[in-house]
């Protein structure tokens, strides 16, 4: 079951926007990080079921954070949420081990579909 969700994005508004369109009745626990480094540390502390990761961030980019998280936990479910919609950037994120990519601005239906898919993957692992 997806319970713990970590949102890594330097923009407080982007984090707020993402949380606001997630289903309210699923009892999710939200945790937030404002850059890749913070996200990596919180990942290690919290072991979230799903991590939403921006790519363009100060201190440590999303690319670097994905690489480090996957090194730490190869089964990490990282969903990239990014404004950098260049094919090369999206491919690079997937090559580093991201589970899937979603483009900003996020659409509610895309986010829900991504979570359902993540839920299925988690159940298969469990």
């Amino acid at each position: 079951m997806v319970k713990k969700i970590l949102i890594v994005d330097d923009s407080p508004i982007a984090r707020k926007m993402l949380k606001s369109i997630l289903p309210k009745d699923q009892g999710y626990e939200f945790y937030e990080a404002e850059n890749g480094k913070d996200g990596l540390e919180k990942y290690k502390d919290l072991k979230p079921d799903v991590t939403f990761m921006d790519l363009t961030m100060p201190v440590m980019t999303g690319f670097e954070a994905i690489e480090e998280i996957i090194k730490y936990d190869k089964n990490a479910l990282i969903i990239v949420v990014t404004a950098d919609v260049q094919m090369k950037a999206l491919k690079a994120a997937l090559d580093l081990g991201a589970y899937m990519v979603l483009k900003k601005p996020l659409k509610r239906e895309d986010l829900h579909a991504a979570l359902m898919k993540a839920q299925d993957s988690l159940q298969r692992v469990e």
Partner: protein
Amino acid sequence: MALQKEMTLTKEEIETLQEIMNIAFGQSASDLAVVIDTQVVLSVPFIEIMNITELPGYIKSHVKDYKYINIVEQKFWGRFKGDALLIFSSGSGKELISMLQSEESLNLESDPIDVLERETLMEVGNILIGACIGKIAELLQDIVTYTPPMAVVETYYYDAISVSHYDPRSTAIVLKTDFRFDEGNVSGFLFLVTSHESINWLKEALRLFLEQYE
């Protein structure tokens, strides 16, 4: 500067505008990447509010390391209106020519290099500025039109930026982002300068944008 910021946009409005700029420049980089087979490495956008007289100093402080710069300027107007200044590092024009055209299609005999450079900068500028402003307008439910791009090639940075055509009493909202290309020695800044005349509309548009996420 801090006082002006409080008078014009709230912290939440600035953060929202930053995120919108982030989405918009991401879109324009993607559009350009379709034309040029390289990745545009993006950075976090930044919003600054200042008196218009401070604008040249602000821009110069960012581009001074380039010494010589290439500028593409386009004005845009809708309810969101202002100037877009795309500033490339020295040598970017020639780099872009080689990235955009294969050697076979590069006809230097009929196209003098300075003309080609100017046209290439205008074309790339048009893509980046048009897609960025267009996306901002779309997200804020506006429609904008543009002047044709103008390019200034390899000019000394210090002499390049003037605000003589602005009302010196006006306040500028400056949206800035910087970028570099993954391949080729091309980097630069995009500055979008909108005046306080847009502020009431902008505040309402940002409120409506955020309302979708309440």
